[in-house]
């Protein structure tokens, strides 16, 4: 057993990182992990942190390993953004922490999960720390791709690129780690297009499977203008509901924790002004988090929706690439007979255009409507 066990399909990365652990000459003070969503960027960073703290170079069992992996190690700080951006105040606090010597471990490790979400000023603050490294401090920065990270940060860190793991490797991980049976693991790994976290959820949660099924079914059902607008409304509503369900409990816990930290009386009829303003700030953050969550959920469902057109295109041009949706083969065939390759490409473009628009802050409903109108098919295939 080792800390690298769950990092499936990333052999070259594991090799690089273990070498840096073994040999301090290959070590550097800033690393940049990139890779598609679900490839395990932040898991790789945590595993690296554990290996750096562990006396055995990442046994996966000792106290150092376990606490580094679950985020409770005193010298491993994990920064995960839940808002839309990381602010300069947060970064300054991090930089300050980075200047301290490790308290119990061999290294002080700071993991920033979404370095692509740094505001410009926050990036400047971070840059100072990267330019003047502290001896036993190491920064592990994560982002979807190099292009998402400003160049000054890129040029001051060593790049580690994770690849999309093979479907079989993800399926094997689900079986081994989560005890999911073979056929389900394979279905989930394929349907999630190797996104490990999503695959796990699809395998475990039949509601998630149903939602995915409903989403890809849209491809063969939207015929009229009214139906397109309705379909967009549904996609949007499902995402909003999922977001509310996911955040209600957490929001309440955050508020309780904040009141406790501030030493405020939770039962007070009106809170003093300084506490009120902190509460208002928390509510703003929570709203931003909910908004981002809705957008993330919609983005995931658009990736699902695109997969059925991509499969139809694979059939249409007679390529022997593996399908993402072999379980929905009649829909795929139906689409492939109904549409030309050019039309299928047009549908795929409409979906990526919607993703781009939502990413640029267009209201999701409007972007989805424009997309759904372009996904209309001449007749309902009834499948």
């Amino acid at each position: 057993m080792s800390v690298w066990d769950d990092l499936v399909g990333q052999e070259p990365t594991i090799e690089t990182l273990s070498r840096a652990v073994r040999d301090e000459a290959s070590m550097t003070h800033a690393w940049l992990f990139t890779g598609p969503p679900g490839s395990g960027r932040s898991n790789a960073a945590r595993a690296f942190a554990a290996a750096l703290q562990c006396a055995e170079g990442g046994c996966g069992q000792c106290r150092e390993c376990r606490t580094a992996l679950d985020g409770t190690h005193a010298d491993v700080k994990v920064v995960a953004t839940e808002g839309l951006s990381i602010k300069v105040e947060d970064t300054r606090a991090l930089v300050q922490e980075a200047g301290l010597r490790p308290s119990v471990g061999a290294w002080r490790v700071i993991i920033v999960e979404d370095v692509d979400r740094l505001t410009e000023r926050a990036a400047d603050a971070l840059l100072k720390a990267l330019e003047e490294p502290t001896p036993r401090t190491v920064w592990l920065l994560c982002a979807p791709s190099l292009e998402d990270v400003i160049i000054t940060i890129r040029s001051r860190s060593r790049h580690v690129r994770l690849r999309t793991p093979p479907v079989a490797a993800v399926a094997e991980l689900l079986q081994r780690r989560d005890g999911i049976d073979g056929p389900m693991a394979l279905y989930a790994a394929r349907a999630a297009q190797s996104h490990i976290g999503l695959a796990r959820r699809l395998a475990r949660d039949d509601k998630a499977r149903n939602r995915r099924h409903d989403t890809i079914s849209l491809a063969t059902r939207i015929t009229g203008v009214g139906e397109a607008v309705l379909a967009a409304d549904n996609l949007n509503k499902i995402a909003e509901e999922e977001s509310v369900a996911a955040s209600a409990e957490r929001d309440a816990a955050d508020k309780a924790r904040l009141l406790e930290t501030l030493g405020a009386d939770p039962g007070a009829r009106t809170q003093p002004p300084h506490i009120r303003s902190q509460l208002a700030a928390l509510e703003r953050d929570q709203k931003a988090r909910a908004k981002r969550h809705i957008r993330d959920v919609i983005d995931r469902s658009l990736i699902d929706l695109a997969s059925i057109y991509r499969d139809a295109l694979v059939l249409r041009i007679g390529s022997d690439v593996e399908l993402v949706n072999p379980d929905a083969i009649d829909k795929v065939r139906g689409l492939a007979t109904l549409s030309s390759a050019e039309q299928l490409l047009g549908h795929l473009d409409a979906i990526s255009e919607a993703r781009e628009r939502i990413n640029a802050n267009v209201p999701p409903l409007l972007a989805l409507e424009a997309m759904a109108l372009q996904l209309r098919v001449p007749r309902n295939l009834g499948i």
Binding site: G224, V225, G226, E227, A228, V229, L230, A245, A248, E249, D251, A252, K255, A256, L259, E260, A264, P266, G267, A268, R269, E356, R357, A360, N361, V362, P363, L366, A367, E369, A370, L373, Q374
Partner: protein, 319 residues
Amino acid sequence: MTAAELSPLTLISGPEEVLVERELTSLVGRARDAAMEVVRIDAAGYEPGSLLMHASPSLFGGATFIIVRGLHEASDELQDDLLSLLAAPAEDVFLLVTHASGQRGKRVLDALKKQRARVVTCPAIKNDRDKSDFVQQEFSRARRRISSDGVRALVEAVGRDVSELAAACAQLIADTEGLVTEAVVDTYHGGKVDATGFRVADAAIAGNTPEALRLLRHAIASGLDPVPIVAVLASQLRGLIKVGSAGRGSPEQLASSVGMAPWQVKRARAALSHWSSEGLATALQAVAAADFAVKGGGRDPVYAVERAILTITGARSSA
């Protein structure tokens, strides 16, 4: 007013803050009139045991009105304390619980209902139909009248935010006399960006290109943000598509199925006689493109909105 007129158990159920606040204010007022001690407990940050402490008889006698806000986010400890209080009701303790939505707190909800708590519902005010109804209720509660075009103008001008809508109603009720009409609403809220957006959208959908462009340029020149104007264009076209594909039925029936107010359905139907569904599709797509341009995807956001308007009026006449 005596304490006896307050229900010993009240449940305020539903997410609409404006309605919840109003009910709370009125009940707290009654409790104070009855010289009751009012205790507020927030579910977030609840300290176990404090509910029962407040519910224990006070040295000085007298009744206590306990308000527990946010059962939907209550910890297990708070729920347990509520259940023990409900299992052994203390004399002279009046309990009010608010619950916005969801499954959390279900055991307490069941216990409250079983003990015949008075239930006040505060459903979410979401679509324009709900908002119109809300405005009508606000005015009839104050024994005032507002015309149907007055309701429309008010919802259009400030309806995006329910608390703003409530405040606008209160202001009109306090500051005006007699029937409140569209003209009265316009004097108070006519310059608001949303109202402008509706005028631009009305002109564009009616195919009046020069008027739509003139209103748009005027709005931009006076410093209004194009984003909400685009949002109104989208919502009006969306409404047309929904009404157009909803089939027959009275405006009232249709209103509830498409989440619009009856007057909106009537207006949409009148406009639809000049529109094909294909034309509406083109128009809505143009608005989405304009929104993207306004949000930074294009070089000239104002030009993007103008082009969307030209596309909309063009899609209409080609119908």
